[in-house]
């Protein structure tokens, strides 16, 4: 295996090279190089590296919004106090991706653009209503993350488009969020995962967001369960119905990491645990 390796000097140059159909973008390379070695992906003529472009690595906190450059390494994102304090589900998810060595080079954009059904950053970003910025020679656009994933390995990126940033609205301080996940051992992809974000006001749930990973062709919002929970009080009956609805929305499969049955069980457990014993004002 031999490729040309091109380290882009500017975003414009990266756009131009990315537009050629024999190019492949490389950020941290932790998905790409494995896929190439295992021949799970056709070999490109050229790897276009975008990871050292400052426009793509910056992490900027604005009022009510965190803008994370697509090529920011996971370790850098985790080091942001705002992530740990305001986006705990995202912090919990990023912290279990691979090992520290992997997190030092793996990028958030790579995790999303690789579009694995189990990409761990996706469920928390979905429950925080994140949007993604996509750009190329044809211009810039913004898309809700929930519209980005089309199937395993398939995204809304157009040929030659680069993801430039992920924008995360910061939840109100009273919101609570959590990410749960199970894998066979450490350093393993998720068997199933669930991120939850909600507020508890006057004893009832508000702004409920649920998103699951590794239980469908793409990471997905569990909208039926969300709307059932919206405005209701947390009790075992409510949760049981939510679990039932959630299980109806996911489409898990049997594979080496677990059976469809077990995945469905896990989603139910994660969902109940996310709400059980939570009180107003709990973090």
């Amino acid at each position: 295996m031999a490729y040309d390796y091109h380290r882009s000097g500017s975003l414009a140059e990266a756009f131009a090279l990315a537009a050629r159909d024999d190019s492949a973008l490389i950020a941290g390379g932790t998905d790409l190089l494995v896929a190439l070695r295992k021949k799970k992906r056709a070999a490109p003529a050229r790897l276009v590296s975008i990871r050292s472009l400052p426009e793509l690595t910056a992490i900027e906190a604005g009022p009510g919004l965190l803008r994370i450059g697509a090529c920011a390494p996971l370790t850098e994102i985790l080091a942001q106090p705002v992530v740990r304090e305001r986006l705990p589900a995202l912090a919990q998810a990023l912290a279990v991706i691979g090992s520290r060595q992997i997190r030092n080079v793996a990028t958030l954009g790579g995790n999303l653009c690789n579009a694995s059904p189990g990409a761990d950053s996706a469920p928390p970003l979905l429950v925080y209503d994140a949007t993604v910025e996509l750009a190329g020679t044809g211009g810039r656009r913004e898309l809700p993350l929930s519209e980005f994933f089309l199937g395993p390995g398939r995204t809304a990126l157009r040929p030659g488009e680069i993801m430039t940033a992920v924008c995360v609205p910061l939840p109100v301080p009273s919101a609570q969020s959590v990410f749960q996940r199970r894998s066979r051992v450490a350093m393993d992809l998720a068997t199933a995962s669930l991120a939850v974000n909600y507020e508890l006001q006057g004893g009832v749930l508000k702004s409920v967001r649920l998103a699951a990973g590794a239980v469908a062709p793409t990471p997905l919002r569990l909208r039926a369960a969300e709307s059932w929970l919206e405005g209701r009080a947390v009790n075992e009956e409510t949760l049981a119905k939510a679990v039932e609805l959630a299980r109806g929305e996911i489409k898990p499969i049997d594979d080496l990491r677990g059976s469809a049955w077990y995945r469905s069980e896990l989603i139910g457990v994660f969902l109940s645990r996310a709400f059980r014993n939570r009180k107003e004002g709990d973090a």
Binding site: R184, L256, V269
Partner: protein, 797 residues
Amino acid sequence: MNEFRFIGVDTARPDAPDKVSGRAQYIHDITLPGMLWGAIRFSDHAHARIRHIDTSEAEKLPGVEAVITAYNTPEVRIGFLRDNFALKRDKVRQFRDEIAAVAARDPETAREAAALIRVEYEPLPGVFSPEEALVEGAPLVHETDARGRARKDNIVPVRFAHHSGDLEAGKRASRHVVEGEYRVPLIQQSCMGTAGCIASFDARGNLTLVAKTQIPFLAQKDFNRALGALGLEGRNTRVVVPALGGGFGTGLDTHAYEYIAMLLAWRTGRPVKILYNREEEFAFLSPRQSASARIRQGCDENGRLTFREIEVVQDNGAYTSWGATFPSVMLVPATSLYRVQNVSFESKIVYTNNTYCQAMRGYGNPEITWPIESSIDELAELAGIDPFDMRLLNCNQPGETTPMGLKITTCGLKECLERTAASLDWKEKRGRQDAKRRGVGMAGVINVAGGGKIYRSDGSGIILKPDDYGNVNVSYGGVEMGQGLHSALALTVAEALGIRPENVIVNQTDTASCPWDVGTHASRGAFMACNAAVLAARKLKARLLEWAAEIYPQEVEEALARARRHSSFKEPDFDWRDAARRGQFELANGILTVTGAPELPELQVDFGRLLRAVHFRRQGPGTTFAEDAFYEPPTELPDWDKGIGNMSATYAFGAQGVEVEVDEETGEVKILRLVAVHDVGRVLNPQTLKGQIYGALAQGIGYAMYEQVLTDKGRVLNPGFTDYKLPTACEMGFPIDVQLVETNDPEGPFGAKGVGEPGLVPTAPAIANAIFDAIGVRIRDLPITPEKILLALRQRR
């Protein structure tokens, strides 16, 4: 106080600095001048007739030097039943069957050429489990045996059985009887260093094989036989063993890839290297076989065992290697773990179109201790007895002879069980089933620890050769594969001879320079090597001390004469001449002196100086030294049909305990604490011994909870660590209490027993027993995954 100078003292391993600094030469690091690379074309079917092999495209590829098949090379049969061939001619019986091979200038070209070989097949129906293979009229994996006689079924013709006492009487005497079927999966040895070899011929037709082997001398025999097949009768194979990145049993047999490298080297006249990558290691090397065991055992009203009955069925895969002989080792715990009369053991080894299987650390013992020790807990539960008390009640005792005829000399089982219970706070914690869903469990182990006689000789030779500078070179035919054998040898030679461990240099294992050894397996390495070393060291020491009578006075007089030139010198107030005349010499710590001498440099002769003084003698002919010894343990080759014979010179015992917490909603098991108490006879090097046990525990946990080679109709689905899960450091993040019990075995070197395997044997049943204690669910099928636990919990409701 330690009665020894080096034995029992933490000592850094002699091989460690080179290994941690990347200097050790593994097979991966070795290149010979003019060397070619081999690659193998494996089968595309689990069972098929080979219709046609077209190698023309491969031959045309630039850089290819040879393409071989069974049609253009002599037939080379392999395996102890001779049911396998280096290259397959008419039929493939498993996905990893070798059909053709290529030698080329680099590994990429070789692999590319191998992929260009076209094979036409006529697919045949296959059998993929013993159940399928045993059905009347099932497709035959082998239509004939090695001699060409027609075969009627898929049963491998090896028999290991045992029937002692009166089973029916045992059953009648039982108050409680339990029965269960237990399963173990196919697993991979997962050596850090993958498999490989380099074959080269000299101009006279002698073969040198640099091989990742644990059996250099049995391999030499196998390869010499293959030389005969090439028309090279009487030529010799020299087996050279590089640094090994783990063996774990993978090196207990010779492999088709080694014979293929040999055929390619002979064809091209150049050295040929074949090296497996991780995926190939998983798909094309022999793993540890899956097996099922049905066990029945009973006890009387007091909990005393009344009988034990076991039937084992093993999936052999398509060809026969040493995995088929696992029942020979299963007999040890089956008949002798705890006191039990009236034992019945039967085994059936079945050909299938799955990958063929091989040895792995423990060799049948974990497979059978899993049902035995789970069943002991089931029996205790039924009888309403604490499982710890039941184990104590039936505990083996020193001096007993078991139904298999094993002569138990020293036995620390009772102490191991008691210490395990104490460390776990057993009486306090067991049987509580509290809200936290915590539980404790334990299991015991018996393992051969003084060799395991499965061959005409179970011995080991050794040569000790001092040089002029006070170093002793050790030539030993066993293999250092990461377990610390060289460290044990250095300590033993130093202790027995009276020199320092850093002056003991263990040579690379090479059949040309090392004496015969049957192989490094069965926890026998250090036991045999060190026993042989003690014998040779005694001979060497006796010879050296004979020379002391001449050399010592001469060297001391000279030293004193030199010392007297200093005015401050005071004559020693000690009659050293008299002691020397009486022959009261002592060699210790690399220094020769006489008994009672004060610690004055003038009265001490350095070991190197002694050797030089003998070599370059002032008058008369001098000499150099070398001594050899061969240690053959006092054991018997068992009668396998009857399952009787004292196959080991001593037996190791141990107990492990674990505390777990089970999440009843997800089925996840968290280990809170692990205790491993092992009767090791005597600790040689505490550091390496604990290393053996920690490593074994990780393997035991892998077997218990994570590992399984998944296959679909004979094809491996998870050939790599992405989906074949070993425990990582994160899974091992709990306190581990390792305790060593010293029983000082009379047959062991300085009292030591073999310790390589026992550490992984009882781990799985200890965990399963703890899970039962926590949530009342028993898993009988390894690995114990959260999914299985959750399913069992659901089924219980």
